[in-house]
Every structure is written in C-alpha cells, then in structure tokens.
C-alpha cells in the first residue's frame, strides 16, 4: 500500500486516502481534432515498466489532484507535484534522472 506526499496539504497520504487517476499530462483534444488524435486522447495510454507519471487525488484528505513520478516496477517515488502544469517540473525531472539516467516518458526526458 503506497504512501504519497500530497504537495498541497503536506500529508504523507496512505493509499486508502487516495484515488488513482491514471496517466498524467494528457493533452485534451476536443472539437476540431481528427479521429486519430481524439482516439489517442481518449484511449491510448502508456504502460511502462519503470518511470511513470500519474494522476492522484487526495480524495479522503484535501481533495486536490496532484501528480506523482513513480517507478511501476520498484514502486520508488521520485516526487509528487501539483497537477496545474503541462509538464513535470525541472526538480522532478532531475530527481528521476538521478535515479534513472536516460529515462524518457512520452515526450519528456
């Protein structure tokens, strides 16, 4: 059972307090997008063994959504950060690089 640090309220939250929200940094495609773009937006997801960027909600806590950078194989957490960003902040990228040199995830590295 994971513990993740909520970047809003500062609690190290137990997994029972959290809702998992799937992959982070998905760009929304609405009207005007072509079928392939829209299909990928709705359904295509990463399934890495290793570095993953995920959405979590501190549902039974402060209610805020945040992102976690995590290793799906070892469950190591590289860091958590607010959800109001378009890409992982530099300090998170650095934290991942320190542990997983040469990592990449979608367009980020």
């Amino acid at each position: 059972m994971l513990t993740l640090h909520c970047p809003y309220c500062g609690v190290n939250a137990d997994e029972t307090e959290l809702d998992a929200g799937g992959e982070a940094h998905i760009k929304r495609h609405g009207p005007g997008s072509d079928d392939n773009q829209f299909h990928d937006y709705l359904f295509t997801r990463e399934n890495p063994k290793g570095v993953h960027l995920e959405r979590w909600r501190h549902a039974a806590g402060c209610g805020k959504w945040f992102h976690a950078a995590r290793c799906t194989a070892t469950l190591e957490v590289f860091g958590t950060y607010p959800a109001q960003v378009y890409e992982p902040p530099q300090d998170i990228k650095d934290a991942i690089s320190a542990k997983r040199p040469g990592w990449s995830w979608r367009e980020f590295e």
Binding site: M1, L2, T3, D14, E15, G21, R28, H29, G30, P31, G32, S33, D35, F38, L42, R55, R57, A59, G63, K64, W65, C71, T74, L75, E76, V77, A83, Q84, K99
Partner: protein, 1005 residues
Amino acid sequence: MSTRLAKQGRLIDRSKQITFKFNGTTMRGFEGDTLASALMANDQMMMGRSFKYHRPRGVVASGAEEPNALVGLGEGARFEPNQRATTTELFEGLTSISQNHWPNLEFDVGAVNTALARFLPAGFYYKMFIHPQPFWKHVYEPIIRHSAGLGKAPDKETKDADTYEHFYAFADVLVVGGGVAGLQAAKAAAQSGAKVLLVEQTSHWGGRAPVDGGTIDGLAPDAWVEQTLTELKATDNVTIRTRTMGSGVYDHGYALAYERLTDHTPGAPGPRHRLWRIRAKQIVTATGAIERPLSFAGNDVPGVMLASAMRDYVVNWGVTPGQRVIVATNNDDAYRTAISLKKAGVDVLRVIDARTSGGGALADEARSLGIRVDPGKAIAKVKGGKRVKKVAICNQDGIGGAREEVACDAIAMSGGWSPVVHLWSHCGGKLIWDDALAHFRPDPARPPLGADGNGFVVPAGAANGPVSLGDVLADAQTAGEAAANAAGFTPKTADAPKGVSELELPLEPVWLMPANADMPLRMKAWLDFQNDVKVSDVQLAAREGYESVEHTKRYTTLGMATDQGKLSNINGLATLANALGEDIPQVGTTTFRPPYTPISMGSIGGEARGEVFQPIRKTPVHEWNDANGADWEPVGHWRRPYAYVRPGEGVHDAVNREVKNARENLGLLDASTLGKIIVKGPDAGKFLDMMYTNMMSNLKPGKCRYGLMCSENGFLIDDGVVARMDDDTWLCHTTTGGAERIHGHMEEWMQTEWWDWNVYVANVTEQYAQIAVVGPNARKVLEKLGGMDVSDAAIPFMGWADGKIGDFDCRMFRISFSGELSCEIAVPASQGLAFWEALIEAGKEFGVMPYGTEALHILRAEKGFIMIGDETDGTIIPQDLGLNWAISKKKEDFLGKRAQQRSHMTDRNRWKLVGLETVDGSVLPDGAYAAGEGVNANGQRNVIGRVTSTYYSANLDRGIAMGLVLHGPDRMGEVIEFPGTDGKIYKAKIVDPVFYDKEGKKQNV
C-alpha cells in the same frame, strides 16, 4: 504409543490440569500444552485424514507449518474449521473434532481413494472427469463436492459471537519473530533510540534456542531470553507483543500483524483478534527456519515427524510420540533429537544418516550415549497404517533393495532447514540459492524497495541463512543496527552476544530416499501432506510438459491450501528440477503471498460489521418516514421510501394509491437526497457550458433549466435542473446517486484542465431538505400556509424564488418531474422535518399523501422522462434518448461533443428511445430483449431492442414501458415481440414515450 514423560516440559505446568474433548472423548492435559501435545499425551497420534486419499494422518510439526493436524474447534457460534492443533493453546473445556472423514476418523469410506491412487494422479481433475459430459453434472460433481474441501464451513445460520478490531501502529523498526535473533535485533535497534515494535506469533519468547541448547554469553538460552526480555520491557521505545503473527509485508513499509487475544480464553471480554495495521520505516524479519521432511515411502504415516518437532514435544511439553524411535537425517542437527530423546529415557534404535561420512560432534555424542548410527543408509519404506509399525532400511545410494526391517513406533526425519523467507518475499524481495546449506535465502542485493528506492526489509538470524547460534546472534546484531540506521537513527555499535553451539558438518542434499527409489516407492513418498502430492505426481507433471514451477503447482496442487507449502515447497522444487534435469535456482520458487498463516475473516472486517459496516445516510425526514410505513429502498448510501404502506395494504396497492393521488389531489416527495452543487465565480457560466451539453451561461437569474452531463466519451452520466442564483452563482441539481460523483467530476475538470478559470464548486447536498409538493392542490396548500406569492405570475414554470412559506425560510423551484403542478421547496436541513410535518398537517383537507420512489418512477415514466441508470447504462448518448433538444448547437465545445461526432455515435442503427405499449395491456418484463430476424455469428437469435423501464400505470390502468429499439422512432405503430424468461412472448406496440398529458398542460398552470 505416544505418551507423557515423567519429567521434562519447560512450557507446561503439571500442577494445573485441563480437561478437553476430541471427537467427543474427554481427555486431560496441562496448562501450557498445545492441543497437539495434549492429544499426543493421550496417545492420539492420528489427528485427521488427508484431503484427497483420506489417508490417516498424524501431527508432523510443532508450529505454524503443520499441514496435517487441522481440527474443527469450538461449537455453534464459535465453531471454526481448519485450526492447527500445533498452534492451539489448550484451555479448559476446549472441544475439537477431526476433519476429512466419513463416517469417522478410525473408519473412513473415502480411504478407498488410496486403493484408487493410481487412477488419481497429478491433474486427474482435468483428465478423469471430462468425458462423458453428462457424467459431470450427475456423477463427478456431486462426488467431488462431497469429498472435497478441508473441514466444514460454520453453520450459515450462526453469527460469529466474537468481536474484532483494527489497530493502527507506527514504528521506526518492526521486528517480526521473538526468537533469540528477533530479541537481539530489537535490542540492537532500540539502543539507537528508534521506536521498535517486536511481535512473536507464539505465546512464549526465545524460539528454538532453548530447545536446541548451547550457551549465549555463558548463559543457558532460557536464562539469556529472560534477561533480554527484562531489558526490552524496561526500554520505553520498545513495544512487545506475543501471540501476534507478522502476517504480511506490503508496499512502502506497510505491514499487517495478527494478534490472537482470547483464542486461549474464549469468551473473555474484549476483541478476539486484533489486526495491526503497521507503517514501519524498516522491517526486520527474524522469522527463523522450517525443517524439511525427507521424501521416503510412507513418510506420511502417523508417527513420522520432523526431527525438530519431536524434540520440541519432548523438551517443551514432556511428551514423546513413541517408545522406540528411529531418526533419519542428512544433517547433524537431527542428532540433537536422538540425544534429547535418549536423555528423556526414550529408546532411540538408530540414526539413519544418508551421508556416507556420517555426522560430526553431535554424532559422536549420540554414539557415546549408546545410539547406533548407520551412515549411508536410507529409509526404503515405512510400514503401518494408522501408526508406524516397522521400517525397512536400505542403502541411500540405490533403488531400495536389500532391505533390513526394524520394528519401531516413531520416526524423526530431517532433510535440512529452509529459512522462512515469506515476509522478505511478499513485497518483491528476491532469493538466492545457497549450495552449501541447500536452501533459498534472501539476496541482500535485491531487497523489497520502499518509496525512497532503498530496501526496507532486513532479514535476521536463521531467516537469513545462518545456522549456528553464534552466527545467528551476530547476524541479528548486524540486522538490528542496519535497520535502525536505515530508519534514520545512529546505532550504538556493540558486540553481539557470544553464542556457542556444537560445530556441525555440512548436510548433504537428499531429495529422495533412497536416491533412485523405484516407482512403487515414489508413489508413496509424499511431498505435500496437506494436498496429497507425491514425488511421482511432480515427476509426472514434468513429463507432461509442466516446466514452470507455477504451472506445476496448479497442476499438482503442490503447496496450496492453508499451509501454502511451508514444508513441501523446497522438496517439490528439487524434485521438479531433477525431473527436468535443471538446477534448483533455475526452476525457482512459487510466489510467496500474504498472509503468512491464515488469519480470521473477522479480523479483516474488524469493527466494520452490522450497522457500522456501511453507515446509512438519512434525510431530515427519515424518522418520520420510518414511523409512517416506509418500505425502504437503498439508493446509493441513502435509504428512500419505496412506498408508504398503510396497515392492511400491500406494497403495490400503496404504490398505485400514491400514483393516482399525486395526479388527482396532492402528493409530497422527500427529495432531500437529490444532489445540490453550488458553482460560483466569474467563470462559472463558462465552466458549466463545458460541463453540460446545453447552454447554462445564458440562463437568467431566477430561472431553471434541465441539463444533461456527458463524459468525455460522449456518454450520458447525469441529469438535473440547474438554477441560476445570481450573476456568478449557479445551483446544479444532480441525481441522488450522482451527487458525490458529479462533484468529483467537476472538481477534476476544474483542477486539472481549466485550472486558470475563476470558479469554485461546493457540494451542499446535506445542507438542505428538499420537498416536492405535487398535484392539482399543490398551490392551495402553499397558499394556506401563507407567506410568499406562489402564483404562476410570481413564480412561473421553470422559475424559482427565495421567500417564506409559513414561518419557514425557503427557496422554491417551479420544476416538475411528474408532469403535475409542482414546487420543489428547499429549507435548511434543520427545518426539514418541521416543514414536512407542516405540509402534511395543512394538506389534510387537500387529500395529501406522501409518495415514494416507485410512484416517482411511474409518474415520470407516464410522462416519458428518462431516468439515469434505467434509460442509461454508460453506453447511451443523449441522441439515443431523443434529447437532441438539450444539446447545444451553438457551443463550440462541451464535454462529450467531440466524442458524439465519432462514426459509431452517429450511426443511424443505434437503438433509439420509444414508448412500448403491450397489445394486451400487461406489463412487459424489465430488461426483456426484442427478437429480430435471423441469428448472429454464435447462432443466437438477433435482437432489435430492449426494455429500459416498465411499470403498471394506475392512472392509465395498463402496462407502460420505455425501451431502446432499432430504428424505433421510424417504426411507430409497429408491433414487436419480447420473449420473456417465463417462456411467454410479449407483444408490444411502438408508441410515443409520452403516455400522459402529451401537451404538458398540467405542470404549467
């Protein structure tokens, strides 16, 4: 015979006699006995029968690893099957019954399976019972159901008489195991100042050391344990618990421990079991090691026992399993058993040592006591049914010929020791094979990893591989210091206590006895006692292509059920590896999963049972409803009245009465459960335009609008009336079940997509009671109570206003889910009951009746209004339901808009909503499918529609229904057929879904 010895027994108090029952026979034991030791003291060696062949089985082990001695414990509301006699502490009045036999333990019909053993090989389920197929249902299944299963389930009519609880604990270092390694590791960790929790599964401390002997810092192990315990108890930062089993290790340092508080004193006050939910920075697993059986023919006959268990029974409880004992071994440790027995006055006939070189110092000691040692020998076969009678001895290096028979009544066997690596492995710790000791032990380079990417489990003592007392204590000291250090404390480096024990020579791996045993012997050489798996079964699986150990496990059942292969695992792997011609490490182990030993379902549930299992949400009118005939229906976590049933009336009579009364006089509905969400801010209108398919930003303050919400997939997820409060405030009503979900949905989009928009949402569902006043007399009752102007001019249909009704501050919405003149009136929750009672009182002269959810459903169905969850199921888009009018064409974007343009969503063959009217006026079965022409690819009849809502309408005196039908709106008047599960065919005409007041005049007066 097995019997109590005159002396010995460090754990029993001979001055305190205890009376207990086994299979109805009264027996006696002493305080401190386990059920197993007490049964042996009463010469009850045979304690059950095996799972598959129903062979007589006796106790093999002395602790949690016991596979055979499973009993049904207690009676009535306290009956529990599959309890290990070896871990059941004896108490006055204990009642126990043996398992897996019929009609009784001594004479069992199922034992005929033994004679059929050659027809019940590995995978027999898959081979035997396939053909002929009709046999499965009428012959095989009843037989298997009758004979399968361990023990008997408790009577379904009884409720567990005990209580259970959860306990949340936090520790810097959790130490699992209270043997000398665990005690020393806890001490070493605690000296750093770390908060230490030490748990031990049995009721006593010290583990094996006091039985196995040696000295620690010059003291006897017992004395050292006592001294160390005293120190730990005096240390403020240490918590210790006995009868508490470290059950599982989970992600990021989460661990479960299972404390058995009153199993040994049933009925005592307080909870029976306590589940500790622990967060630890570091976990030390000082879980010891388990001895392996030897695989020889007849190794399951009662009287054959692990060597270590046999000396436990002698030293701890003063009982011996036999009078003339033979010890079979491949290592030096088993000589300790020979020596202990001899010193206790039991005749040890000889030690059969598979090693041609024989043993070391311990063997010399045995010889000096006059015990005969036979090196290079093996047990070919044990003779005897319910007890060991004779043993045939042969050379280890052979097929089992040239046997010498020796009469004896008990056999101690030892195939070496396997570290208990379960807790290390639960969360991903990896193992390495140790060739010298022939076992898997934790690989220090690959521990389970915590959130920071560092290992969080540290094995200690025998659980980590070391065997001798000195090595165990040194390892424990290192482990305790390492755990404290990793938890962020500075350990005080100290020398480990000095453990001294006899020097032991290396063991020699023996996976089969004799090494090349012929087929008849292999068919009687058990690997897994609990699941009746033999050497021949694993070899057969290998021949049939089961190369993966995980597949072999499933095929043969090796290592399943309550003991999860604690004894059989390594022997099984080795047998598989030999059969495949591979090395053991290449074959690997099966996966270790929690719990370590079975834990009670009660402890998992904890306090969450009965009324607190899932607390019920209650509206302010709940108690009134309850007192006035409410037939309760669960809706989400709420309870809503399905109908208000009057004395002498059936539920359906009540529904029909309520439905008619709401149309003819005056109905009241407790609508408090409807979701109420405030959306506020300068960008609230823009935000709601994204949330709803229709336009909400242009709604005028004081007005209401019905809205639809879709997911980004385009599917309809909720509906409800939205009211605009002021320039930047809207109030969104949701369905009863949707309030929390839709609030979360809004928060998600607000926080994660449009986070720069200036808008907030708040769920105020429980702040208000809301009551629908419905029917032709609705306005009359409100006018009678007085207060605000409730005329159509003041509050027209789809308008709302704040004001007073009588003395109540309220907000009135002119909205209607029934098609009648209707006001939904919200008052503060604290005023809800008083307002409801005022309406009931004032409404008497107008024929007031409360109505429930079924009347609500029928009234809306008469009007063709959809219901989320009836007309929708997560695959329905608003266009399917003819709700195109509620989908804005002006808006560039809203959630679901793009999805609704996808080809499948615009397919004209999507089933569409229509009304359905049975030809004979009967009620269509709910969920029935309409049959079409032809068959599909699977040969099933094609379907062209289904019923989504169906009711008897008292107002129309006929069945009415809605359904989704292929090209439905184009087929008005056509009659289609719905085959019912009752065999009847229901014919229904496709009609407009609005059955009542098509012009909508009644709601707009």
